[in-house]
Symmetry: C2
Subunit: 180 residues, 2 copies
């Protein structure tokens, strides 16, 4: 029928952003998005090559800005580059947290599976202990980020010597967490 819909493409992206935020990428079917838009599933695939193409369009602005930041950094000396990297990182992370949430979504959903029931409180206790008794919200954020980051970093390690790896984690964690 081709009803007068001026910018179906943008409506699809808006609906996809909503649905992905609610149920994640894998948890959202093309039919879900189509229902939100008020069109058929086939219409989505007329405007986009695939479900992945919708995702790509959604994160494209964030990816562009990240690339721009990366290029800017490449032309600076080490000291300046570090400052620009930190500022730019903070800026991107805050402005594009919806897009980043898309990436982390499946991770969060994993924790909600029955198999992981009841482990969150223990993790929280671990974090609280690392913060000590500081009321400073920055300390809170630092502790959460450090533990989460270290857990993620270890995955890419293929160290032969577990003891050495363990000790380096302790060193890094203490450096980040202990007051000076």
């Amino acid at each position: 029928m081709g009803v007068a819909r001026t910018n179906t493409r943008d409506e699809i992206l808006a609906a996809a952003a909503r649905r992905f935020a609610d149920a994640g990428f894998k948890g959202t079917s093309l039919q879900d998005i189509a229902d939100d838009v008020g069109c058929s599933k086939a219409t989505l695939l007329y405007h986009f090559d695939s479900k992945d193409a919708i995702l790509a369009a959604l994160i494209a602005p964030a990816a562009r800005e990240l690339a721009a930041l990366s290029d800017r950094i490449a032309r600076l000396d080490a000291a300046t580059a570090r400052d620009v990297a930190i500022d730019g990182f903070a800026d991107l992370v805050v402005r594009y947290r919806r897009e980043i949430a898309l990436i982390f979504d499946e991770l969060m959903r994993m924790f909600q599976r029955p198999a992981f029931e009841g482990i969150w409180p223990h993790v929280e206790r671990l974090i609280a202990a690392c913060v000590g008794q500081s009321p400073d919200p920055d300390d809170q954020m630092l502790a959460r980020a450090t533990l989460a980051g270290l857990a993620a970093v270890v995955l890419n390690r293929t160290d032969r010597d577990d003891t050495a790896l363990r000790e380096s984690i302790v060193r890094v964690a203490r450096r980040a967490l202990l007051p000076r």
Copy 2:
């Protein structure tokens, strides 16, 4: 037929661990595991209530130890608790990194989707800039962990004031990353 298989249950868990490590939890079907064991899919569901139950059995030891660490910490004063928390965390993370990888698997797989093609090099450049030119491997680990952790932490924030959030991220990142 019930062939003389003494410990099918353990064989299932071993096969599941292998498959999950290769293809992740979602990426592994019950049939995949059954093929590895050399039995039928129905046999898996005779020994375990569901696919989730297999996952639960796999992470049970890690969950138990985390709970034990959490309980131990709860009975200590703040200063000691922090030390024990860091040591215990490092120990758990190293010994159970396979189980942790299970949780992070879908996250890593997200980055391999075509939609994210080409963004890794930029992320790496960002990390490298944050490390500066230090050859210390601890600094490398710290930078990776800090950026990954901060990106994850921001997701649970619902701050009204984006500018303030941005500034606190910069403060925390600088505190963790800048040499003193």
